[in-house]
C-alpha cells in the first residue's frame, strides 16, 4: 500500500515531464513558423530609392523576402545575421514595411544593405496580402511560391531548424 502511494507520487510528475518533453521536441515546435504554401500575390511597388517599379515577376527566383522597417528594433538585431547570409551568397529581397523612404535609406546606409533591392510598401498592402502582422518576418520563396513564412527574428537556431530543412528538401540555392 505504502509502496503504491510512493510510486504514484513519483509517477505523476514523471509522466508530466515526458509529455512536455515530447511536446517541446516535436520538430514543428516553432510558434512563428508556418509551412503552408501559397503563391506570391500580384503587386506593383516602387523600391525605396524610386528607381524602378517591381512586380510579382521579380520574385520568381529562389530568394528570401525579409519584411523590415527602420522603426523596428528587432530588425536591427536581425540585421547582422542577414548580412552573414548575404555573404554566404543567399539572395535576400527587402520588403520595407510602413516606413518613410528617407528613414529606410538612411538606415541601410548606416548599418549596411543585405538586400538586392527593397520594395517600398508604405501602406502595407502587399504585406497584408501575404499575411504579415508585424516586422520582422521572413518568407522563403521558390519560383513565385512561398514555402516558409516565419514571424519574428531569424537567427542561427531558427535558420537551422526552420529554413535549412526546407531549403535542403527543395534543393535550393545550389
Amino acid at each position: 500500500m505504502k509502496i503504491f502511494i510512493r510510486l504514484v507520487i513519483l509517477i505523476i510528475p514523471i509522466v508530466g515531464f515526458i509529455f512536455f518533453y515530447n511536446l517541446l521536441t516535436e520538430d514543428k515546435f516553432y510558434p512563428g513558423a508556418n509551412f503552408d504554401r501559397f503563391n506570391v500575390p500580384v503587386f506593383a511597388l516602387d523600391d525605396i530609392t524610386y528607381q524602378k517599379i517591381y512586380t510579382k515577376d521579380d520574385l520568381n527566383d529562389e530568394l528570401l523576402l525579409n519584411v523590415w522597417a527602420s522603426w523596428c528594433i528587432t530588425c536591427r538585431v536581425e540585421h547582422g545575421f542577414l548580412m552573414e547570409l548575404k555573404q554566404e551568397g543567399f539572395l535576400i529581397t527587402g520588403l520595407n514595411y510602413k516606413d518613410e523612404s528617407t528613414d529606410a535609406n538612411n538606415w541601410l546606409n548606416l548599418y549596411g544593405n543585405p538586400y538586392n533591392f527593397s520594395l517600398h510598401d508604405i501602406k502595407g498592402s502587399l504585406a497584408l496580402d501575404m499575411g504579415v502582422t508585424g516586422a520582422p518576418e521572413t518568407f522563403l520563396i521558390k519560383n513565385g511560391e512561398v514555402l516558409v513564412h516565419y514571424s519574428g527574428e531569424v537567427n542561427l537556431a531558427v535558420w537551422d531548424n526552420v529554413f535549412y530543412p526546407v531549403i535542403k528538401e527543395n534543393k535550393m540555392f545550389r
Binding site: 505504502k2 510512493r6 513519483l10 512536455f20 517541446l24 516553432y30 510558434p31 528594433i73 536591427r76
Partner: protein
Amino acid sequence: MIAEISHFFLVTASGLFLLSFIFSTLTYKTNHNLEILVSRVFSYGSYFVFISFFIYIWLSIQSDFSIRYIAEHSNKDLAVFYKISSIWSAHEGSMFLWIVFLSLWSQFFNFKLPQADLLKAPSIGILSFIIFGFLIFLLFTSNPYDLILPIAPVNGADINPILQDPALAIHPPFLYLGYVGFVIAFAYNTAFLIKGDLDINWEKIIRPWSLIAWILLTIGITLGSWWAYYELGWGGYWFWDPVENVALMPWLAGTALIHSLYASSRSNSLRGWTILLSISVFSLSLFGAFIVRSGIIDSVHAFANDPQRGLYLLLFSGILIISSLTFYALRLPKLVSSNLIKPKSKESFLSINNILFVTAIFAVMLGVLYPLIFDFIYEERISIGPPYYNTIIAPIAFLSSIFLVFSVGSLWQRSSKLFFIYSPLSLSILLSIFIACFIAFKLQDFEWWFIGGIFSGFLILIRYLLLAINNISKKMYFNKASAISHVGLGILLISISINAGLSYEKIINIKAGDSFQDDMYTFNLLDFDLINEDNFDSIKAKFLIKNNDASEQVFYMFPEKRKYFIRGQITSESAIQITPFKDIYITLGDQLDNGYWVVNIQYNYFIRWIWISAIIMCLGSLMAIKERSVKK
C-alpha cells in the same frame, strides 16, 4: 561599459551560488566553520544579484539602447516609472526580476534563521542550487544584457499603451514575490527530508514565510484582476485565461498549505501531507513559469520565445521537483503517524477541505493542459471555456465552506458533537437558509449555484459572528486572525455570486443630444470633447446621468476613445461610476456613419466587494503571522 560590468556581476553571482551549493554538500557531517561559509558566500551572491539589478534599473532610466532588451521594450519618451516597469514587461527582464526576488527571499531567510538551526546549511544549499539554475537559464538562453552591436539605435520601440498603466506595472512584482516566496517552504522541507531528523519543528519555521508569500500572491492576483476590470473594457474581473490559472494553482495550494501547517503543528497526523503540500506549492509556481515562458500555450500574457528556453526550464524544474519528491517518497513511511484522524475532529474537516482543494487544483490544471493533450493526440485545436471552471469550482467552494463551518466549533484530536438543537452551527445554518430563501423569493428568477453561493457566504459570516459573540462575551480565547480572514472569504463568496447573478449589460445606439432611459437611470449624451494630449488624441463623451428614483441624484461620466500617435493604436477608456453596491460601467464603441455611437452600459454588482474581501483576507493573514506562536 557599465552594462558589461553589471553583466559580469551577474556571472560572478552565479559562480558564488554554485560555490555555496558545493560547500553545503560538504557540510553533511556537521562542520560549523563550513556552515558559516555557506551562509556568507550565499549573502555575497545575493548582493551581486541586487547590485546588478539596480544597475539595470539605472541603465533603463538612462535609456541605454545599446542593450537589446531595453531598446526593444522601452523608449526615450516614457515616464521614469514606466521605464522601470518596462523591465518586467517581457521575458528576459521579468525572469531577471524573478531571480532577484528569489535571492531577496532567500537572503532574508538566510539572515533571519539562526546559525544554530540544524537545517540552515542544507536549506541554503538547496536555495543556492535553485538560484544558480535560474541564473544559468537567464545568462545562456535569455540574457537581459545582450547588446546591439556595433551601433546602438537612436530610440527604442514604444511599449504598448495598454501596458502603460499603474496597476499593470505593479502587479507582476507582487505576483512574483508571492510565487517565489514559497521557495522557502520548499527548500526547508526538502532539507528536512534529506536530513530525516523527525524532531525538527519545521512548521514553526516556514509558517510566517508561507503566510507572507500567500499575502503577496493574493495582492498580486487582486491587482491583476482589478487592472483587467477597468482597462480591458469587458467589465469582467476574471477570465480563466491560462496565465490567470497558473497563478491560481499555487494560490489554492498555498491556501491549503497555510491551513495544513496550522493543523500539523496542533496534531501530528497531518505532517506527511503538509510536507507534500509545501513541495507542491513551489512546484506549481515552477510549472506556471514553465507554461508562461515555454510558449506552449496561446495567451494574451504569454511571452514570445523559442523552444530552447522551454526545454531548459522543463529540465531544471523536473530535476528540482522529482528529486524533492523522491526524498519524500523515501521518508514517507517515517512521516505517516500511527494515530488515525478521529472522525468529526478539527483535523478531519481540514483534511476533507484539503482533498477538495487538491481536486480544484487538479481541475484547473486539467483545464490548462487538456487543449495541449488534445492537440497532441488528435491534432485538433480546442479551448476550454469559462463554464467548465464555473461548474467545477462552484460546488467545490460550496462544499468546502460547509466543512469550514463544521470545523469552527470542533476540537483537535477529539470527535466533537456538532449538531444539537441550540448549537451555533444549527443556528447559522437556519439563518443562512432563511436569507438565501428570502433572496430567492425576492428575485424569483434565479439559478441554483447563485443561491448556493449566497447560502455558503452567509453561513460562514454568521458562524464566525456567533463565535465572536460567544468567545468574547465569555472572555475565551478567540482567534481574531482566522475569524477576519474567513469573514473576508464569506464576503468574497457573496460578492462573486451576486456579481455573477445580477450584473447585466445593454448595448445602445445613441447620438449627441439624445437620451436613453432604463428602470434605474436616465443617460443623456450631452456632447463630445476632442482633447489633444502629448502622446494621444482623444474623443471624450460627456454623459449626464440622472437617478430615476426620488433622490434624483445627478452625475457625469466620461467614457473615452484614444488614438496614440506612436503606434496609431486605439484604446477605449471605460468610465466607471462607483456606488456602494454596484458599478456603472460605460464603454464607448464605434461611431457609425449616421453619427450614432454604439455604447455599452454595464451594471456590475458588488464588484468592489470582491477586492475588498481580498484585502480583508490579507489583513487577517497578516494578523496570523503575529498570532500567538503555535504550541506543540
